[in-house]
């Protein structure tokens, strides 16, 4: 079990509105999953470098060429609300 208080804190960090049923459900389900994944702590990984990507590829660079692909109107075409070609949001402050 992960406490409902922790679930609410995490939901806020994740910017997710959860209802009361979801808080109770995730408290139970996430608790079980976290218990399961905690088996990793039994393994000694002293000195093992974390592997963050699957292959040892080097970071590649390319020239910073200007390409015309997404027109402004196309890029903002899916906006739920906009003003001209600008996104519109409720008050920030």
């Amino acid at each position: 079990m992960i406490s409902e208080e922790t679930i609410k804190k995490i939901a806020n960090l994740a910017r997710l509105k959860l209802n009361g049923d979801e808080v109770a459900l995730y408290s139970k389900q996430l608790g079980a999953i976290v218990d399961y994944v905690s088996q990793l702590s039994k393994l000694d990984t002293t000195g093992v470098a974390p592997l963050v990507t699957a292959t040892d590829m080097e970071i590649t660079f390319r020239t910073d060429d200007v390409e015309k692909n997404n027109e402004n109107s196309l890029a903002t075409g899916n906006a739920p609300e906009k003003s001209g070609n600008l996104y519109k949001v409720p008050p920030v402050l």
Binding site: K17, L18, T45, T55, L74, N78
Partner: protein, 487 residues
């Protein structure tokens, strides 16, 4: 005329020689798509108008004596996780229900440039998170071999359309088994390429250190053709490898003489369904009879794969899915008194249960005080898992194993317990975490007529080894023409 018997290779050859019109192939595929939809629910969007236009373009190239490409006129279905310009792309999520892609994925562009015609966008688990296709906001896909069972996931729609012969091939994505498991459950071939082989530009991101795009087809040769078309360095995806793409389909051969096939003891444990084990062992016996040499190997960290994956993938997902904020695209809640409320409400309303669960899990594991114990630890064990494979490939060329512990399970059988569903992925997660190529090939059927997949894996960028081994086995086992009843 019934074209559904034809392979991709024969369809494209006939179109290029002018023996069949692309339009005829596409019209038939569209008819089958629409007819199957109430039964299988394999599509989220069928692109009739666009497909007919593309088909006409291919036919006009042929009539001008121009070569439309390796996939000339071939109808294909694309997982609705890949962006298709001007066509709705949902990731099977209500949060993207109204999203019309402003550009196309590199894979889609490459397929179309090779003459393929996209007939529809296939159903999947929401954001590719699942192993049964039951997590789709557009309802589950049914398995053509038994409509009471799941097709596997997350590329369930892509697997079902190929098994039901609606299209001869499709595109799936695989993060932890999402091409191989549905390929196994639906009795087709599916390849997860090496990480870095295929561009992810324009593919809705789930877990970026794992996601790969790959082909799903009835025959191994057809998968090789599609893989050849979609592979290669892409300037729009810095994670694609600068490594030459072999002409997989031209180089294909069917001899396994002298090939060393490793059998990892950790993949042949108690708990595997007896009929699955029998079919897989039969496939291996055939490879042996064709001249392959069996080597017994060990991948000692296999059992940690699930724990590692279900930390790394949710951590990456929680970060990738932060972009769905109700501002630039996707669902926006009507309840939004301020910007914070807009984010929380839009995401709370738009995401289904599984993405929410994984966002929560990932945010938890990455939160202050837990990062080292969970994410960092998982990345350390990931290295041990990859090193197991590197060591194993010093003694063998290819590794053979089951894809899943069971054949396709019943709809609803595992959907109430997420952890039970996760445990299902045990045999597909290792190759994903290691970034190596792996495929699923149908190697037999259970008494109830359910297909069983054999998994073949090779070292990084050695796709040819698994393609050729699978091709050899396929020719001997001869199952690719068996067809689900009613399709």
């Amino acid at each position: 005329m019934n074209f559904s018997e034809l392979t991709i290779k024969s369809m494209a050859d006939k179109v290029r020689r002018g023996e069949i019109k692309a339009r005829a192939l596409v019209e038939e595929s569209l008819t089958r798509s629409k007819k199957s939809q109430p039964v299988l629910n394999a599509f989220i969007t069928i692109c009739e108008n666009e497909a007919l236009k593309s088909a006409d373009r291919v036919d006009s190239l042929v009539s001008q004596k121009k070569d439309p490409g390796l996939l000339a006129g071939v109808p294909l279905a694309i997982k609705d996780l890949l962006l298709t310009k001007g066509i709705r792309t949902t990731a099977a999520s209500k949060i993207l229900d109204n999203f019309v892609a402003p550009y196309s994925s590199t894979v889609t562009n490459k397929l179309e440039a090779a003459g393929a015609v996209i007939v529809g966008k296939t159903n999947l688990d929401e954001f590719a998170m699942g192993a049964s296709n039951e997590n789709s906001a557009y309802g589950p896909v049914k398995n053509p071999w038994d409509l009471t069972r799941v097709p596997g996931g997350s590329s369930g729609g892509s697997a079902a359309v190929v098994a039901a012969r609606i299209t001869p091939g499709s595109i799936g994505t695989d993060t932890g088994g999402s091409i191989r498991e549905p390929a196994s459950f639906c009795g087709i071939t599916g390849i997860k390429p090496t990480y870095g082989r295929v561009s992810r530009y324009g593919v809705v991101a789930f877990a970026s250190s794992l996601d790969q795009v790959g082909p799903m087809t009835r025959t191994v040769e057809d998968s090789a053709i599609i893989l050849e078309v979609i592979s290669g360095k892409d300037r729009h995806d810095s994670t694609t490898a600068q490594i030459a793409v072999p002409p997989f389909s031209k180089n294909i051969f069917d001899s396994v003489k002298g090939l060393k096939i490793g059998l990892p003891k950790e993949y042949f444990v108690d708990g595997i369904d007896t009929e699955v084990r029998k079919a897989v062992e039969n496939g291996i016996e055939i490879l042996k009879s064709l001249g392959a040499q069996i080597v017994h190997i060990s991948l000692p960290h296999t059992s940690y794969g699930i724990a590692v994956y279900y930390l790394i993938a949710p951590c990456e997902a929680s970060s990738n899915l932060a972009r769905y904020d109700g501002v630039r695209f996707g669902h926006r809640s009507k309840e939004n008194k301020d910007i914070l409320d807009l984010y929380c409400q839009s995401r709370g309303e738009g995401f289904g249960p599984e993405p929410k669960r994984r966002i929560m899990l990932g945010t938890y594991a990455l939160s202050s005080g837990y990062y080292d114990a969970y994410y960092k630890k998982a990345c350390q064990v990931r290295r041990l898992i990859r090193d197991d494979f590197v060591k194993a490939f010093q003694t063998c060329d290819v590794i053979a194993a089951p894809v899943a512990t069971t054949p396709a399970f019943k709809l609803g059988e595992k959907s109430s317990d997420p952890l039970q569903m996760y445990l299902n992925d045990i045999f597909t997660l290792g190759p994903s975490l290691a970034g190596i190529p792996a495929l699923s090939l149908n190697c037999g059927f259970t008494k109830n007529g359910l297909p069983v997949g054999l998994q073949l894996m090779a070292s990084h960028f050695q796709e040819e080894k698994i393609i050729n081994s699978a091709h050899a086995l396929e020719k001997t086992i001869n199952l690719e023409n068996r067809q689900p009843h009613g399709f």
